[in-house]
């Protein structure tokens, strides 16, 4: 019986390939769109996640997400350090600045200032030079994409000179980072250098990174920090999610993108439904005859399920394969760099495809189950 099911399915090569193509395309569309969205959202929080050493971020109560910087008083650092259960607390600067290159061109950069001594929050993956170089005054490290973006077509080399707000800075290290939501080049300097070169309104402390002592309950530590200092304290995850939610809710970018994804998913669902509904409808006469001859509903259902599983699985694998290939091919394009196909998306697409297939089968098989003799006997 399984053999019959397979022969019916593959008997018409063109239709069979059409079915597979439909499901492949639907899987590709959904997996690719949703992955890009998820990756883009994750970029929003990439700065937060890149500081792996810290447990808690402390900031002004008005800060709603990572790109928003509300300066605190310098003494807050000492207040936080004095909270019971804090192992260490270091300053962390983050803000936008303009650099001016030697040929006079300017360029926006994301400036990150890390604690001079501990270098907490510096990117761990070096491409050229040594991260400790930034402890020297007027020395910076830039990310590789930023470097290529700023000096296109030029070899990676140390010693380039730029100006930040009229302060001369030498680039003496190059590293590789996870791209962030704002695709400006990222420049790392020591916290002191950051204060020096930042514009006057930004010569303040934006974030404090806190490491909890071993065995501390983070939620209770957070509460103690807030109670004692009046500042906002968030775990790494909380701050990341708050940032992602903020971008989701407040900016137009995700709205456009959500529409695209929703369309992608709807089109994917529509193609799959249509494909399977057509498949059953086109074979309705065959199913009718089989039922008249003595196939039970269960037997027919089993045959259709087998056919659907084959088409669904083949199509899904091709679709996911193409999506993975897409990210592999585009992995060096700065806009998509570091983008991956999250397994959650793969599972989600799998479930969606199979749920949709199941629904369209149940929907279209009702006709077979309630077999109208007209289907069997009419010419």
């Amino acid at each position: 019986m399984n053999k019959i099911a397979l022969k019916i399915l593959m008997g018409d090569k063109a239709k069979y390939l059409g079915l597979i193509f439909g499901v492949s395309f639907a899987s590709l569309l959904m997996a690719q769109q949703v992955s890009i969205f998820v990756n883009l959202m994750a970029r929003t929080a990439s700065v937060i996640f890149s500081v792996s050493e810290a447990d808690i971020w402390v900031m002004d109560t008005r800060v709603r997400y990572i790109e928003e910087v509300e300066p605190m008083r310098d003494m807050e650092l000492y207040n936080v350090r004095s909270v019971e259960g804090v192992k260490w607390a270091v300053p962390f600067h983050k803000g936008l600045s303009t650099i001016r290159m030697q040929d006079g061109l300017t360029q926006q950069v994301q400036l990150i200032g890390v604690d001079d001594v501990s270098l907490v929050g510096i990117c761990p993956e070096m491409v050229l030079g040594d991260e400790r170089a930034i402890r020297k005054p007027q020395t910076a490290m830039i990310d590789k994409n930023g470097y290529v973006f700023t000096w296109p077509g030029q070899p990676l080399e140390l010693g380039r000179e730029v100006e930040i707000n009229d302060h001369r800075v030498i680039i003496n290290a190059i590293c590789s980072i996870t791209p962030n939501f704002i695709t400006f080049p990222t420049m790392y300097v020591s916290y002191n250098t950051a204060l020096e070169v930042a514009p006057p309104t930004r010569k303040k402390l934006p974030f404090i990174l806190v490491k909890a002592q071993e065995g501390q309950n983070l939620q209770r530590l957070k509460k103690r920090i807030t109670d004692q200092t009046g500042l906002q304290a968030l775990t790494q995850n909380e701050f990341a999610w708050r940032s992602i939610n903020y971008v989701l809710q407040r900016t137009g970018i995700p709205i456009n993108f959500t529409i695209t994804i929703t369309l992608g998913v709807i089109i994917g669902i529509a193609i799959t439904t249509q494909t399977f509904y057509m498949f059953i409808m086109e074979n309705l006469k065959q199913f009718g005859a089989m039922k008249a001859i003595g196939f039970t509903n269960m037997q027919l259902l089993r045959m259709v399920l087998l056919q659907a599983s084959i088409v669904g699985l083949t199509g899904y694998c091709i679709g996911i394969g193409l999506t993975a290939l897409f990210f592999e091919v585009t992995k060096d394009a700065p806009a998509l760099q570091g983008f991956i196909l999250p397994w959650q998306v793969m599972v989600g697409v799998f479930c969606t495809i199979f749920l949709v297939i199941l629904l369209s089968i149940v929907f279209s098989l009702r006709k077979v189950f309630k077999l109208d003799p007209a289907i069997v006997f009419k010419g």
């Binding site: 019986m1 019916i8 008249a292 003595g294 196939f295 509903n297 069997v376 010419g379």
Partner: protein, 238 residues
């Protein structure tokens, strides 16, 4: 003579625009083993409806049907299917072969559905087909066969599981005159040789003479029950 089917007082209503229309109106008769019974009548008189009921594809509004001594009308739908695949063979106007399966595989389907092994089912189907002049054609796909050959495959399919009742709906309607007569001859032999009941629904007065008995229907009722001889005389058909 033994009866394969007995149906008594069956009526069938179809809902239409909120009303009910009566398509079969309190009809009773039987179908006998060893005979070919022709069911004739104008278009729309209820022939297809009647055979759908006799084969358990459609349920009755009233009345009862017994096939080979079993009360079909009392069975739940799932049981009807199993009963059908054991006791009834079908031949349709459009053959209704599965285009992706070979002639032999098509003919073997009732056995496959009943769980008989592929090898056994195919061997029996091939033997039947070859007995009907289909040597060398058993592995062809339906589209590689002529209409008459396809209908022979359908006949083999209706016989492969050795049912006692064969139901045919306009078996010659899609065939040319000569091929139609050949197919009817095969069906005729089936009825006589193996003591089966063959019920043939038809419009085609050129094949009436193959029957042993003719049931005439009109407007949802059986209006006449003749021997073929009497019927042909009545209708002035040679």
């Amino acid at each position: 003579m033994q009866q394969a089917v007995i149906f008594s007082n069956i009526s069938k209503d179809f809902p239409l625009d909120g009303r009910k229309i009566r398509v079969l109106d309190n009809i009773s008769s039987d179908i006998r083993l060893g005979e070919m019974t022709m069911l004739v009548g104008p278009s729309g008189c209820g022939k297809t409806t009647l055979i759908s009921i006799l084969s358990g594809i459609l349920s009755t509004t009233e009345g009862r049907v017994d096939i080979m001594g079993a009360a079909l009308t009392d069975m739940p739908d799932t049981k009807k299917v199993l009963f059908r695949r054991k006791n009834i063979g079908f031949i349709f106007q459009q053959y209704n072969l599965l285009p992706a399966l070979s002639a032999a595989e098509n003919a073997a389907i009732p056995l496959t559905a009943a769980g008989v092994s592929n090898k056994k089912a195919l061997a029996r189907a091939r033997a039947l087909l070859e007995g009907m002049g289909m040597e060398g054609q058993t592995e062809k796909l339906p589209r590689q066969l002529s209409g008459g050959q396809q209908q022979r495959v359908a006949i083999a399919r209706s016989l492969v599981h050795n049912p006692k009742l064969i139901i045919c709906d306009e078996p010659t309607a899609a065939l040319d005159a000569k091929t139609g007569l050949q197919v009817m001859q095969i069906l005729r032999d089936i009825a006589n040789e193996k003591n089966r009941a063959v019920l043939v629904v038809t419009h085609d007065n050129r094949i009436f003479h193959f029957g042993d008995r003719i049931l005439e229907m009109s407007d949802g009722r059986i209006t006449g029950d003749y021997t073929t001889e009497d019927f042909l005389k009545k209708e002035h058909i040679e």
